[in-house]
């Protein structure tokens, strides 16, 4: 129960951050990605501030033996760089560049009650299912999770 409330609080904070920084606006994201247009560097500052803040809190969190409300830290344990990582990133980037939405802002944009985000999210869910059903998912190496 505490875990669920904590996740809700973190989600609200995350959505607030996306809204305050206007990352929920695809036009603003595309204005960053378009170096030849009237370039808007805002997204870079959002990322730098987010990474720095997260790194600081992660450091404090990892100084404790375990999370406050859970038994272990769930950290991706993989270190290898494979083709899937790069190809997946490239495919995601093409979709991101076509419209200006990545998963977080697309979900947060449901707050604006626009049909566009519902359409995008339905297609995104379909894309995830397509991956799940593809031979690629079956060939996937088992997930290794590092506990602590």
């Amino acid at each position: 129960m505490r875990q669920v409330v904590a996740a809700l609080a973190a989600g609200i904070l995350f959505g607030l951050g996306l809204s305050v920084s206007q990352m929920t606006n695809p036009g603003k994201v595309l204005a960053f990605l378009d170096f030849l247009g009237p370039w808007d560097p805002s997204l870079a500052l959002v990322l730098i501030a987010a990474v720095t803040t997260a790194a600081a809190v992660f450091r404090v969190a990892r100084s404790r033996p375990r999370p406050l409300f859970a038994t272990s830290f769930q950290v991706p344990g993989r270190r290898d760089i494979d083709a899937r990582l790069v190809i997946g990133g490239v495919l995601f980037g093409v979709g991101w560049g076509l419209v200006g939405w990545c998963p977080g802002p697309a979900i947060a944009s449901l707050a604006l009650a626009r049909w566009e985000s519902a359409a995008f999210l339905a297609a995104m869910a379909a894309g995830m299912l397509a991956y799940r059903l593809s031979p690629l998912a079956r060939a996937e190496a088992p997930k290794t999770e590092l506990t602590r």
């Binding site: 378009d34 969190a61 760089i81 997946g88 419209v99 299912l129």
Partner: protein, 141 residues
């Protein structure tokens, strides 16, 4: 449209990073939104509640923001349904294949100094920039 908003970008970024930190500190979870959402879509994930709670918060955040600011937020998105669907499919498939998106690899991964996440982040930023260049300056969208 393309106005630089450094202050709100920094404040928003700190909130995003703080949120990711909070989820890790309290629940021990990485705030990777494609993974949290994908865990719901894909059957078999036993831990649904915290995922639903986080995603609900993601929608509540902007509502809260709108409640305290008087004017509606600037919002420009393509009206093309085929484009939205194509982009959504690519984002869904690509983030699962590459194990993460802007939040999981971009924010959390870079904060953890993960080499995998750095490679993923460079991959999707590069391809997004090329996509926008082709769409806007070669095809002329």
């Amino acid at each position: 449209m393309a106005e630089f908003t450094p202050l709100s970008a920094l404040i928003g970024g700190c909130l995003i990073g703080g949120a990711a930190g909070l989820l890790f500190w309290l629940d021990g979870r990485i705030a990777g939104i494609s993974g949290i959402f994908g865990g719901l879509v894909e059957a078999g994930a036993g831990d649904r509640y915290w995922r639903v709670a986080f995603l609900a918060g993601l929608v509540l955040g902007p509502l809260l923001h709108a409640a305290v600011t008087a004017r509606p937020p600037a919002f420009v998105v393509t009206p093309s349904l085929p484009l939205l669907v194509a982009a959504g499919l690519l984002v869904g498939f690509g983030t699962r294949l590459g194990h993460g998106c802007t939040s999981g690899h971009g924010v959390c991964g870079l904060a953890r100094l993960s080499r995998r996440s750095l490679v993923a982040t460079l991959s999707f930023f590069a391809s997004a920039v090329v996509t926008v260049f082709v769409a806007r300056h070669i095809l002329g969208g």
